[in-house]
């Protein structure tokens, strides 16, 4: 038994004869921030779906959270899916408190929290808007807020900031880092932005093209807190070029 | 004679489908009585039990088969229809109880008091029931009348849901027999408990058709007269003929046999006459209908009928 919060053990997934995810193992220590990068269609979202209990992997593997198997179980992660999956019949405020609404009674505190963060991050005027009246980036922020206020110790974030402009993205990133640091949560983070992956995480997992598997597990020891000037740090640049190289060498993989 | 020279007449029945009361018409068709009279008669069934008058007045049919009560209300409503001959000569409307249950003309009051009486809601029952109740010394509130136009009186009766059903003997009895219940049915004729003895069904036409087609109607009544007599004389053959004509009617031959046999006695009066109508029958009927508020005024009995097309002799 290890002390890893999440222990993915030889998980594979085949859809109708096509192997999408080759047997993949990974361990995530409690409190760490791990990014996953990899080419489109390599099985990143599939991996998240399996961890979250939405998909059942091919037999043989196992997923353990805090040591106990959660294969096919759910309720143990906060998961922001790749689609900004807002509930069309709920306003922004109600979408942010949706997780509470799905699991227990929504309290006044929940509401207050939702209103607070929505106001803090630029959606204060849109609390009563339905999702269809939001821009793409606004939808993504609402989905992100919903995931954060679920207060789960393990967060799976699938390209959470893909539709955000640089400035808003920075705000969200620093908010996420704050929450992560202050509440000791564990984060698994899919992104296509290599800078982002280095900027945020302790470890970066690089996946191969379909059938996906982890081809590199790169520790990132850049000191925290990291400011924007970290982008010019030699260690950063080296790490980035390693990752880029791994990603670009895919034809030969 | 060949078909081309035959005069076409459409005959509208009183019920949406065929049953044994149509036997005389079928016999007249199949045994050639109509053809011999120069007629080609086509039978038409109405979409529901109250459209025969409309079939006649809209010209969709020329001769029809309807109850005398329907005649009463039609004339009252201004429909130019006229009865050209009784089908039955007396009133075989009756009250029925489940076999083995007490129902007797002598103590009809006790037998009906507080009981549930089934009615299809037909005008005839509505007209007759007040006579019976008055005769029994009962008020309407002292019995329970169940009206179910789409119900089935026999099933309700046999299942014990109602105590008394109302119908005519020729329809109710074969039904009882078909149900194969033990014991003889218990029936009391309406005429035994105060109902007037007037005919239930007549042949009718419109006034304008009667004026312009006197010969055709005479031929029709003459053929129907012969056919009725033939059918009464050969009940089994006549019924078989009906069954052959309407094999898919859903009725069994046994039902039709019994039904027709039970109909025969009502077709003639005490003078063994067919068809002949009287002022008395119509004024009694009209008075009864006025009594229950179905018609607004009692017209002269001659408004309703004519005997002019009856076969002579």
């Amino acid at each position: 038994m290890s002390s890893a919060l999440l222990d993915v053990d030889a998980i594979a997934k085949t859809f109708a004869g096509t192997t999408v995810l080759a047997p993949t193992s990974l361990r995530v220590e409690e409190g760490s921030f791990v990014s996953i990068v990899g080419p489109s269609g390599c099985g990143k979202s599939t991996l998240f779906n399996i961890i979250a209990g939405l998909l059942v992997p091919d037999s043989g593997g196992d997923v353990r959270v805090s040591g106990s198997s959660v294969l096919g179980l759910s309720g143990h992660v906060g998961y922001m899916l790749q689609k900004d999956l807002l509930v069309p019949w709920r306003t922004v405020e109600d979408n942010i408190t949706m997780v509470a609404r799905l699991t227990r009674r929504v309290s006044d505190d929940d509401r207050r929290e939702a209103r607070d963060i929505a106001t803090r991050y630029g959606l204060g005027e849109f609390l009563n808007h339905y999702p269809k009246a939001l821009s793409g980036g606004m939808r993504q922020r609402v989905a992100f807020m919903r995931t954060l206020v679920a207060h789960q110790p393990l967060l799976l974030l699938d390209e959470p900031f893909g539709a955000l402009d640089a400035q808003t993205r920075l705000e969200m990133q620093s908010w996420l880092l704050n929450v992560w640091r202050e509440t000791g949560r564990t984060v698994l983070f899919i992104t296509h932005d290599v800078d982002e992956s280095i900027f945020l995480s302790d470890r970066i997992l690089v996946m191969s093209p379909r059938p996906g598997r982890v081809v590199a597990d790169l520790p990132n020891t850049l000191a925290r807190p990291r400011e924007l000037d970290v982008l010019t740090d030699p260690q950063f640049i080296e790490l980035k070029s390693t990752i880029m190289h791994l990603l670009h060498s895919r034809e030969s993989a | 004679s060949s078909g081309a020279t035959l005069k076409s007449v459409t005959f509208a029945y009183d019920f949406p489908g065929p049953d044994f009361e149509l036997t005389p018409v079928v016999v007249a068709q199949k045994e050639g009585f109509f053809a011999k009279a120069g007629l080609n008669v086509l039978v038409k069934f109405p979409p529901n039990t109250s459209t025969t008058t409309q079939l006649l007045t809209t010209g969709a049919a020329q001769v029809g088969f309807i109850t005398t009560t329907d005649m009463g209300v039609s004339v009252n409503a201004g429909a130019p229809v006229v009865s050209i001959g009784n089908y039955s000569m007396s009133n075989n409307w009756a009250l029925f109880a489940k076999p083995g249950v007490q129902l007797n003309a002598q103590h009809i009051r006790a037998d009906l008091l507080g009981k549930t009486i089934f009615s299809y809601g037909d005008t005839w029952t509505e007209a007759m029931l007040p006579f019976v109740l008055r005769h029994a010394g009962l008020k309407l509130s002292q019995v329970k009348v169940l009206t179910a136009p789409s119900g089935n009186d026999l099933t309700d009766l046999l299942a014990g849901k109602v105590n008394v059903s109302t119908s005519t003997t020729n329809y109710e009895t074969p039904g009882f027999v078909g149900a194969k219940v033990k014991g003889k049915e218990v029936q009391v004729l309406g005429t035994a408990v105060g109902a007037p003895n007037i005919p239930v069904w007549v042949y009718a036409t419109t006034k304008s058709y009667a004026t312009k087609n006197s010969a055709t109607l005479t031929a029709f009544m003459s053929a129907i007269s012969k056919a009725t007599a033939w059918a009464a004389a050969h009940p089994t053959l006549a019924t078989n003929l009906f069954d052959k004509t309407y094999p898919q009617s859903g009725y069994t031959n046994a039902y039709n046999q019994l039904g027709w046999q039970l109909t025969i006695p009502f077709l003639t009066n005490s003078h063994h006459q067919y068809f002949v109508q009287t002022n008395a029958q119509w004024s009694t009927l009209a008075t009864a209908l006025k009594g229950i508020g179905l018609i607004s005024k009692v017209p002269a009995p001659s408004t309703y009928y004519t005997n002019q097309f009856l076969p002579k002799g």
Binding site: W89, L127, H129, K132 | A77, S150
Partner: protein
């Protein structure tokens, strides 16, 4: 204000047009009053006999209302159960189709035999007619609820009940209300058929049947008018409830900040 006026006016106009055509046919083809009445005579037949009709109308409305509610609830419950349990769906679906393929009259008689001549069999018959379109629409609706939204509920371990109230029920609002509107429209017709199969005392259906047997065509058509008005009213009521309960279908912004906690959140 103007919109409400329009949504009331236009249907009235269309009914007016029907009345006009009706009037023209009667006059143009010299239709005799005992065949079909003029529209105004039919209306008058209702007004003049209103004292007599009113209790009958009330009776029919009662059967319609109760029957609709039981039918709607049964329809939703059956639909939910069938969409969740494949085996139940396969077992029950043929029976449901059976229940509707059988002519109502054929069913009504045994029902009256069992339940007697009270108001109960009528409510049962109305419910019997109402539940089916609701069930079919709920089953088909639930099997096509957005899988991603269901996944959202699953991720957070939402109970079946909360998944149902928070995701599935609002997710099928359109087909559910389609089914309810169809059912609402049929409810009156069902009540009328049920009344024909047996009433002690009077009923709207029997009043009409009686008028028909007595060639009182204004009363016959007048009664039909009354039945229709009940039906349209009931349909509009359901359509109105749909408008009220699904604001996100028409609005971009919720009407106002809610102060009290809505019941759905409990």
């Amino acid at each position: 204000m103007k919109k409400t006026l329009r949504s009331v006016l236009i249907p009235l106009i269309s009914i007016g047009i029907v009345g006009l055509i009706w009037q023209l046919v009667i006059v143009g083809f010299h239709v005799q009053p005992y065949v079909a009445p003029k529209p105004w005579d039919a209306v008058m037949a209702v007004i003049q006999n209103w004292g007599l009709l009113w209790p009958l109308v009330l009776g029919t409305i009662r059967e319609t209302v109760y029957g609709f509610f039981f039918g709607a609830i049964l329809g939703v419950v059956l639909g939910v159960v069938m969409s969740k349990l494949e085996l139940i769906r396969r077992l029950v679906y043929p029976l449901l189709v059976l229940s509707q393929a059988v002519p109502i009259i054929a069913l009504a008689s045994p029902l009256v035999l069992i339940l007697g001549f009270s108001v109960t069999p009528k409510i049962v018959i109305v419910a019997w007619i109402v539940f089916f379109p609701v069930t079919v629409n709920v089953v088909d609706g639930l099997t096509h609820v957005d899988q991603d939204l269901l996944n959202l509920a699953r991720v957070y371990g939402a109970s079946s009940w909360r998944t149902f109230t928070q995701i599935e029920l609002p997710g099928i609002s359109t087909p559910l209300f389609s089914g309810l509107k169809i059912g609402a429209t049929y409810a009156v017709g069902g009540a009328i058929i049920a009344e024909l199969v047996g009433s002690t005392g009077s009923s709207l259906a029997f009043y009409q049947e009686h008028a028909s047997a007595n060639l009182q065509t204004p009363a016959v058509y007048g009664t039909t008018l009354v039945m229709t008005v009940i039906g349209i009213g009931w349909f509009l009521l359901v359509a109105g409830v749909e408008m009220l309960l699904t604001p996100w279908q028409r609005r971009n912004v919720a009407r106002r900040r809610r102060v009290a906690r809505p019941a759905a959140d409990q």
